[in-house]
Each structure stands twice: as structure tokens, then as C-alpha cells.
């Protein structure tokens, strides 16, 4: 699905990724954990080239998406961002109605209009379990929703363009425990249709929802494996120290 090969990234002179290689497994949740500044969000943003927007950033190595290097000049960036979408730490709905937020992607990609568009919006809201709550409030301003509903709306907005991969950067850090639980349950449902990569500071969250976990430290991918192995019997001493709270 997605594979990083010896991926290096610099912000100016600072080397943030020191040659990371990892494969993202389809229809599974992969968590990337590690202390602040370890490069986990940088790695996540590489998967749909969001770092290109950071001035002074420079990348070496490859990320293969369905066998093609997304860092090749000819790679279609619009197609990449459509097929590999991102959910951010803070919900960021557009200042539009619920309907227009979800319809935004299908409209700009020319995927649907009229009844087909309404059906697409409905399906996207159903897949994030928002339809029952908001089916009769499609004209309400998205910014009037609760933080959890806003985050689920942002996920609906992605789902509406039928991506292959959902990148999630600390998607629950602005949410309370109940809302966090709801988003986690949603992730477990969504992985049946999508491939999910999540960056989280919350190790319990990584342990609860992910199938695979990568531990990063100072720009290196120290360990990558099945989540139950990483959290019960990590192979690397640094991973052990971090997940048991002995790091630093």
C-alpha cells in the first residue's frame, strides 16, 4: 500500500528523519509513537507530501504508493491528496454548513452532483456515525457542532472522496475521554474500508486501536512490529524504556 524507503528529511540544516523504512499494511491501523520531536508527525506528513508546504524542507529517499514513488516530479499531487487524506489534531471544518463541508471534496474533484452528491454526503456521514445525529441538520453551520462531531465531520469530509489511506495526526488530543472512545470505535470500523496511520502521544490509545506500531526516537524508526508484540515484549531496549516510562 504505502512504503517508505530510506526516507530522510531536513528542515533547513536540521535532519528530522534519518532514513526511515517501513511498510504500511492495508486495511489495518498503524500507530506511530514516540516522544515530542522524534519525527513521527513529520513522517506522517511525508505520506501525502504535506511537508512540501514547509519552507526549507528537503527530502531524500522514496515513498512508494502502489509501487510508484510519490516524490517523483511527475506524481499527480491532487490525486495523491485525494487518495491519502489527513485528519489533524484540532478539528478544522470549513466555516460552511455540515452538508457543504462533506460535499466539498466530491464537488472539487467532480465526483458527484445533485442526488448523487446528496447520496455521497449521506453515506459519508453514515460511515462516521453522524447521520443519525445530523441527518436533519445538514444546513447547520459546522462550527456550531461539538468538538467530537467536528472531528467526525472532518473524517466524513475525507471519506466522501473515497480515499485509500487516512492519516491521523493526534486526532483525539483535543477531545474528552468519551469523545476519544467514540473516535477510536470509529477508527476500528473505518479500517474495514480504509488503511489508517495514526500518530499519537497516547500509548494506551496506540495499544487499544492499532494493529501495528512503530516507535520513533530522534528521527529513527527504532522498532516496528505487531502492536501486541511491541507492547508486551518489545525487541529494542529503547522501546522498552519508552513504553514503560523509563525513557529520559
Amino acid at each position: 500500500m504505502l512504503e517508505a524507503r530510506n526516507l530522510k528529511l531536513w528542515y533547513g540544516d536540521f535532519m528530522a528523519l534519518n532514513g526511515v523504512s517501513m511498510s504500511i499494511i492495508p486495511n489495518a491501523i498503524t500507530a506511530i509513537i514516540g516522544p515530542s520531536g522524534c519525527g513521527k508527525s513529520t513522517l506522517l506528513r511525508c505520506f501525502n507530501r504535506m511537508n512540501d508546504l514547509v519552507e526549507g524542507s528537503r527530502t531524500e529517499g522514496e515513498i512508494l504508493f502502489e509501487g510508484k514513488n510519490i516524490y517523483e516530479r511527475r506524481f499527480d499531487m491532487t490525486e495523491l491528496r485525494k487518495r491519502v487524506g489527513m485528519v489533524f489534531q484540532r478539528p478544522n471544518p470549513f466555516p460552511l454548513t455540515v452538508f457543504d463541508n462533506v460535499a466539498y471534496g466530491p464537488r472539487i474533484h467532480g465526483l458527484a452532483t445533485g442526488d448523487a452528491l446528496r447520496e455521497t454526503v449521506k453515506k459519508a456521514l453514515q460511515s462516521t456515525l453522524l447521520w443519525d445525529e445530523l441527518g436533519d441538520k445538514l444546513e447547520a453551520p459546522a462550527l456550531s457542532l461539538s468538538a467530537e462531531q467536528q472531528q467526525r465531520l472532518c473524517i466524513s469530509r475525507l471519506v466522501a472522496v473515497e480515499p485509500d489511506v487516512l492519516l491521523m495526526d493526534e486526532p483525539c488530543s483535543a477531545l474528552d475521554p468519551m469523545a476519544t472512545q467514540n473516535i477510536e470505535e470509529l477508527m476500528l470500523e473505518l479500517k474495514k474500508r480504509f488503511t489508517i496511520v495514526i500518530v499519537t502521544h497516547n500509548m494506551q490509545q496506540a495499544a487499544r486501536v492499532s494493529d501495528f506500531t512503530g516507535f520513533m526516537l530522534l528521527g529513527d524508526l527504532v522498532e516496528f512490529g505487531e502492536t501486541q508484540q511491541v507492547f508486551t515484549a518489545p525487541r529494542q531496549r529503547k522501546t522498552e524504556e519508552y513504553i514503560t516510562g523509563r525513557y529520559g
Binding site: 500509548m203 508484540q229 507492547f231 508486551t232 515484549a233 513504553i243 516510562g245 529520559g248
Partner: protein, 225 residues
């Protein structure tokens, strides 16, 4: 930075070792009674058993609370899970020691049978197994734990020889049946103590290396397999 959690884990370990010391003492007293034909102070034995039982409950209570409140991972999680299991093994070892003492009391009411060489040997081996598996636990020494596993076969061999010898004795002289059954029961109790020491050794290996060697000594079994 030292974690407060380390102090809480150390308290579990300290109680486990106290439990182990009590269990060792109970086996020692039961073996002494049997071999030297003495009867230990019942009040002392009851105190030890009561202490073992309350320590088992305290350890389990601490483990449940620490898992709930600290959400331990990796070595910490394995230590707590195994601490609870080892506490269970030690409690059963203490129970077996009480069984030996009670059967010995019955056995001593008659004249001694001819010397049974395997019985003191078996008692010595299981005491050594318990001491060694507790040492392996303290030092996190997988090599020492593996040596305990190897001793289990010697215990089983002793028990089989005692069974055969007692059956022959009882068939030859019906007057010995009562005492012969006592010896068979005691050898069974000693064998069970050896089994519990073996379990502790397996639990130490899992705690240290995350390898489950139950039911297949020596074979690799990694998590999730």
C-alpha cells in the same frame, strides 16, 4: 528519574519473597517431621500458613490495582502478571506442606517402615528447586530457572520408585498398608511441590524473556504465536 511505580513494584516483590521464605520454611518443617520422626509446633505452622494466605490475597489485590491504575506495559506488565501467578504457586506449595505434615502425623502413629532412600532425596530436591526458582526470580536468571525445569524429571523418577517400592511392601505385608499409603500420599505431595516450583521457573522465564515455555520446555514460543 526513578519512577514511583518502581517503588510499588518493589513492594509486590518484597511480599512475594516473604511468601517464598514462609513456603520454604513450611517445606523444611514438613520434611524434618517426616525424616526425623518429630512433630513441629502446630501454632507456628498455622501462623506461617495464615501469613502465606494473606500475602497471596494482598499481592493479587496490589496487582489488580496497579494494572488498573498504572496500565503497565512490557516488563512491568509481565512482572505483575507473573507475580500473581507465582503467589498462587507458593500458596499451593504451602498447602502441600500442610498435607505432608498431616499425613506424617498419621504415619508416625505406627512403627517406621524400612528406610525408603528416595523419600529424603525427593524432599531435598524439591526444597532445592523452590530455593533455586526464587533465586532465579530475584536475580532474573533464566539459566537458573532452566536448571529447575531439569530437576523435575528427577522428582518424577523418585516418586515412581517410591510407588513401586510401597506397592511391593504392602503386597508382601498387609500390616504396612496404612503406613504405605501415607508414604505414597507424601511422595505425591512432594511431587506436586516440584511441579509448582517448575511452574515458578517457567513464569520467571516468561517474565524475563517473554517466552512461554509451558508444556514444551526448551522450545521457542514468542508472543502471539
Amino acid at each position: 528519574m526513578k519512577r514511583h511505580f518502581d517503588e510499588e513494584l518493589a513492594q509486590v516483590k518484597e511480599r512475594l519473597l516473604r511468601m517464598g521464605a514462609n513456603a520454604e520454611k513450611m517445606i523444611h518443617l514438613s520434611a524434618k517431621d517426616l525424616l526425623a520422626r518429630t512433630e513441629s509446633d502446630r501454632a507456628e505452622l498455622e501462623r506461617l500458613e495464615k501469613d502465606v494466605n494473606s500475602l497471596e490475597m494482598e499481592i493479587d489485590d496490589r496487582v489488580v490495582k496497579l494494572i488498573a491504575l498504572r496500565q503497565p506495559m512490557a516488563t512491568d506488565l509481565r512482572f505483575l502478571m507473573m507475580a500473581s501467578r507465582i503467589a498462587g504457586e507458593l500458596e499451593r506449595i504451602a498447602d502441600q506442606s500442610i498435607n505432608i505434615i498431616e499425613t506424617t502425623h498419621w504415619y508416625l502413629s505406627g512403627p517406621p517402615l524400612k528406610p525408603i532412600m528416595d523419600l529424603p532425596l525427593m524432599a531435598e530436591i524439591v526444597q532445592e528447586m523452590l530455593r533455586d526458582c526464587l533465586d532465579a526470580f530475584v536475580r532474573q536468571d533464566v539459566g537458573a530457572a532452566k536448571r529447575v525445569l531439569e530437576s523435575d524429571d528427577k522428582v518424577d523418577t523418585c516418586k515412581k520408585r517410591i510407588f513401586d517400592e510401597m506397592i511391593a511392601t504392602m503386597e508382601g505385608d498387609p500390616q504396612t498398608v496404612r503406613r504405605g499409603v501415607c508414604i505414597v500420599l507424601i511422595s505425591r505431595n512432594l511431587e506436586r511441590i516440584g511441579d509448582h516450583a517448575t511452574n515458578i521457573a517457567e513464569e520467571v522465564i516468561y517474565m524475563v524473556e517473554a517466552r512461554d515455555v509451558r508444556h514444551h520446555h526448551g522450545e521457542e514460543s514468542k508472543p502471539g504465536e
